[in-house]
Amino acid sequence: MLTIRNLHAAVEGKEILKGIDLEIKPGEVHAIMGPNGSGKSTLSQVLAGNGNFEVTEGEILYKGSDLGELAVEERAREGIFLAFQYPVEIPGFSNAEFLRAAVNAHRKHRGESELDAFDFADFAKRKIELLDLDPKLMTRSVNAGFSGGEKKRNECLQMTLLEPTFAILDETDSGLDIDALKIVAKGVNSLRAPDRSFLIITHYQRLLEYVVPDYVHVLAAGRIVKSGGKELALELEDKGYGWLGAEFAEAVPGGGEG
């Protein structure tokens, strides 16, 4: 599904990712943990194609092709989805219209007919219920005035509507209470399938209790310093990052948002 080889990436000339190697196979759930400033969000932005981040070395293969060749929207239509850490507000653009237009952009790409407002309402209804979103949020502007939890659940709604093949969740669990967290997990689990993969970026082990990962990686100072199974998340939760030893201590530059 996704192969990352020796990935280096910089923002405004400053190198953040310093050689990442990662292999994600169909159906797998990978979690990436690590302290602030380690490059977690940079990785997610690079995968989504944010032009502010420059790939300086290495490559990303998605379904066997060079991801760098694809524009942001092409990546999206080819099934890459990023749930944003900070979802963007768009005053004046109704959430329902936004969601329908996004779904239709994907349908058009697949050669399927576009959904009208009624068909879309039918299609979306069950997913809105699953994520326990207030239907009133559909008539409001995209994310404008939404609470933190509503924004995150709106991201999950987009994910369940767009049915991506590779979904990245960038700290989707941050700032959520336990009920909201369970709802988000329910949304993710509803999508788990043999041909769909997830990359979950998180600070906490909490979400991983509900969305159980196949692999956990620790990212520090732009490199993956340790990989393991789901039990690695528990260890990190118990012991913090210090027990990883000198290797890790060296990898912590300190400060900065990742």
Binding site: A48, G49, N50, G51, A71, V72, E73, R75, A76, R77, F81, L82, F84, P87, V88, I90, P91, G92, F93, F98, A101, A102, A105, H106, H109, S141, Q158, L162
Partner: protein, 432 residues
């Protein structure tokens, strides 16, 4: 004052006696007010120098073009294109003249509504009492050279549900003409109506369209005034609305500056009676080499009045825009609430917009604010939409429309609103 501008005023003065003759032969009266208009044109001229009125706007094309009043243009050319019907009571004016054949039948208007051609009905009492020409050359020019327009009177308590739509068209015959429609709206106490002014068409060469509309909102009257400017790029449009509000009245002005080569729109509003409310919104969507210039002047002359003003501008291509707004609160106008906002979006590197929001407050117990922003589309928003599968152009158009929507969506006449939405989207799609 340069030669061209001197010549312009002098030329209009030379034309005036012959013009009055023609009007007399057509049975159109009101020479006294016209004389006053001409006198003002002669004094003010069309010079930029030292005139606050033209500090930010552009009067040169008007001063330099030799436009001729043509009241003799009575019949439109065959095949005239008119906007689709929107279920309104429609009055059509072609090259400034009322066209009964193209208009809704006016034989039995709703009770309390008197409506028709200003040239036919005449007016010696109210006309010119709202529009101040002392420092306004183009309004003075209109006052001298208008030859038709709307006269609308609402009796006390008359509530007219059907919108009244004025369509002003210029056709191929109007090349080089001065077209100066004059409209008068007198809303009696407690009356209500919605009036739409639309300006469309244009000849294949320059024309000067210089309309003036005067509105009197009687006590507790409510007037909604929707204005849509969508003329061709050969049209120079310099127009204004002049409004006086009595106690407890409500006036809503919504302006949409879409078409035209050069557009200058002014709103002059006097809150003359206590507890009156006005809402002024506007959208400028300019592209190519368009110039669009908005000037608003609101005077709070009575206590307890409210102004809510929001103008938005989107500028593509090499277009240039101005927003010059002023709210003045007189010394005794306590408990005034006045809010003025101007937001502009520059959608190309070559587009320019100037924003001059102003408040002048002489009372001490008021709630007022003003603000202005000019910027570009948020790249984080563009990225967010692209990450959901929208191509970049679509993302930018959706965001531009989202920006404009705030002033388009509240349009009170649904059919007009739908048409406006389509027109705004189409123009954004064309880009440039």
């Amino acid at each position: 004052m340069n030669t061209a501008t001197l010549n312009a005023a002098a030329r209009y003065a030379d034309l005036f006696p012959g013009y009055l003759e023609t009007l007399r032969s057509l049975g159109i009266n009101g020479a006294a007010l016209r004389e006053q208009g001409l006198a003002r044109v002669k004094v003010l001229g069309f010079s930029v120098a030292g005139r606050e009125e033209w500090k930010y706007g552009d009067i040169r094309p008007l001063a330099e073009g030799a436009f001729m009043p043509r009241p003799g243009l009575v019949k439109p050319l065959a095949g005239l294109a008119l906007p689709a019907e929107i279920g309104a009571l429609r009055l059509v004016f072609v090259n400034g003249r009322f066209q009964p054949d193209l208009s809704s039948p006016l034989v039995a208007p709703p009770a309390g509504l008197t409506i028709g051609s200003l040239a036919e009905a005449g007016d010696t009492k109210t006309l010119g009492t709202v529009a101040d020409i002392s420092d306004a050359a183009v309004t003075a020019l209109n006052t001298a050279f208008w030859h038709d327009g709307l006269k609308l009177e609402l009796a006390a308590g008359a509530r007219i549900a059907q919108p009244i739509e004025l369509v002003f068209v210029t056709d191929g015959q109007a090349e080089g003409a001065l077209v100066a429609p004059r409209n008068l709206i007198i809303a009696g106490p407690g009356s209500e109506a919605t009036v739409i002014e639309r300006y469309v068409g244009g000849p294949d060469g320059p024309v000067l369209v210089a309309p003036v509309t005067e509105v009197i909102c009687g006590e507790n009257a409510g007037i909604t005034h929707l204005k849509w400017f969508d003329e061709t790029e050969d049209v120079l449009h310099y127009g204004s609305s002049h409004v006086r509000q009595e106690s407890g009245s409500t006036y809503r002005s919504r302006e949409f500056l879409l078409g035209g080569g050069l557009l200058r729109r002014e709103v002059h509003l006097a809150l003359a009676g206590s507890g009156a409310t006005c809402e002024l919104t506007g959208l400028t969507l300019a592209a190519g080499g368009q110039k669009a210039d908005v000037r608003t002047r609101v005077n709070h002359d009575a206590p307890g009045c409210t102004t809510d003003e929001l103008y938005k501008g989107l500028f593509l291509g090499r277009s240039q825009g101005v927003f010059d707004g002023m709210i003045k609160v007189a010394r005794d106008s306590q408990q005034t609430q006045a809010f003025q906002t101007n937001r502009n979006l520059l959608l190309s590197e070559d587009a320019v917009s100037r924003s001059i929001p102003r408040l002048e407050i002489y009372a001490d117990d008021v709630k007022c604010s003003h603000g202005s922003t000019t910027g570009q589309l948020g790249e984080d928003q563009v990225f967010y939409l692209r990450s959901r599968g929208f191509d970049e152009a679509t993302a930018r158009n959706l965001l531009s429309y989202a920006f404009a929507g705030e002033v388009v969506e509240p349009v009170e006449v649904p059919a007009l609103r739908d048409e406006l939405i389509a027109a705004v989207r189409a123009k954004l799609d064309r880009g440039l």
